[in-house]
Subunit: 232 residues, 2 copies
């Protein structure tokens, strides 16, 4: 391993959830971490922000940046940001785009990460998107990240080389749990529930995916839950 001062810098998007925590654990093996948290008016933002700082402290991240994307809040159109739209109960068999989809959200996250990466001279952006076992968001697919990487090359200063790394994108949730445990990622510090900040609800899409991941990995999720249904 190189001495830390000579390490390349990676901007890692850390929401406070499990996938981005495991992504940070993977990035930390090769890069100096610049951790970025984006608030876009989520119902559970205060809890997610705490998780972000807890994870950043755990990794002793040299640089951290917290920014608000008021635009997504103003545009609304998602149950995550718009109080008039109900968070739907989990239905892991449902096809199509769930009500929690925030239009083109990940492009905002990546634009922010890219501006910061360009300013810092970072060479990589890590994002914990999950394609296979995800909720069906169009901006969680690798084809989206490939297209965005080309957009970065076209829209930044000449000589800028920033790649987008999505190390968990092909993993099922149980593989993410296992990878996190293997890398000693602080899963107990993360937060995934879309609906509640005290005890996780256990029934929103995000809780259901997380709980099913732990159940399939044969492990117990260390977080407190209001309900802990068995998912298949």
């Amino acid at each position: 391993m190189r001495p830390r001062s000579q390490q390349k810098i990676a901007v890692v998007l850390v929401s406070g959830g499990m996938d981005s925590c495991v992504t940070a654990a993977i990035a930390a093996r090769k890069y100096s971490l610049a951790l970025l948290h984006v608030n876009y008016g989520q119902r559970t933002e205060a809890r997610e922000l705490k998780a972000f700082h807890d994870v950043a402290d755990f990794y002793g991240a040299k640089q951290r940046l917290v920014v608000s994307l008021k635009a997504l809040e103003a545009i609304g159109h998602s149950s995550l940001t718009d109080r008039d739209i109900k968070v739907s109960r989990a239905n892991l068999k449902r096809k199509g785009i769930p009500s929690s989809y925030v239009p083109f959200r990940n492009a905002h996250l990546l634009a922010t990460a890219t501006s910061w990466a360009e300013a810092l001279g970072a060479s990589a952006i890590f994002i914990g998107a999950v394609e296979e076992d995800s909720s069906g968001y169009p901006d969680c697919r690798r084809i989206f990240y490939d297209a965005f990487e080309k957009t970065i090359a076209a829209g930044t200063k000449p000589g800028t080389r920033i790649k987008i790394l999505t190390p968990v994108i092909g993993m099922k949730k149980d593989e993410i749990v296992k990878t996190g445990v293997r890398l000693k990622a602080p899963l107990h510090l993360t937060w995934s529930c879309y609906q509640s900040s005290h005890k996780a609800c256990g029934v929103c899409d995000s809780c259901a995916l997380r709980l099913r991941g732990f159940q399939r990995a044969g492990m117990k999720d260390p977080l407190p839950y209001a309900k802990r249904p068995l998912y298949r």
Copy 2:
């Protein structure tokens, strides 16, 4: 022309400057206008915002949205947003990227426009970027917009069709002035100066490009200027 209610919707980015005003004039011929203004901590934001609302009133825009991108302000690294970096005097012969470059700024503008377009069901985004006669920003080139258009197709809901139109991208500033005059665009309501909000300074990059455009078009810029140098 179709009745207004059946017109397609376009999201038009309107900074308050001349290029985006002429772009709005072009969009207004075929689309119902949804005008978007983005504040990212520019020194002259209050004046630009006034220009935006004046232009929106002029066109009777049905929908308008003003959003703040605090992220770009937090990241800084540009004389437009960072008080510690001086706005450089115009040097229209200079090569390279000027100090007013905001890292990857236009990707943030387009991500915001895309989210709003997806929520509104709009079919086009107009942006008044200028490539040929511009200040050399990498995110003002058509290859950047082509790449971003592919990113939109990859990252939005299936069936979403949003094109990015850059009608003035190949124009010189004097052509933009002439086109604006021909379309009766309200150039007297616009604001371009990067440095001052009362009288335009006449010497920053943006003033120099604008003044030269009017001079080459053989017309007088209706705005008040502190200095009105002759540019070649």
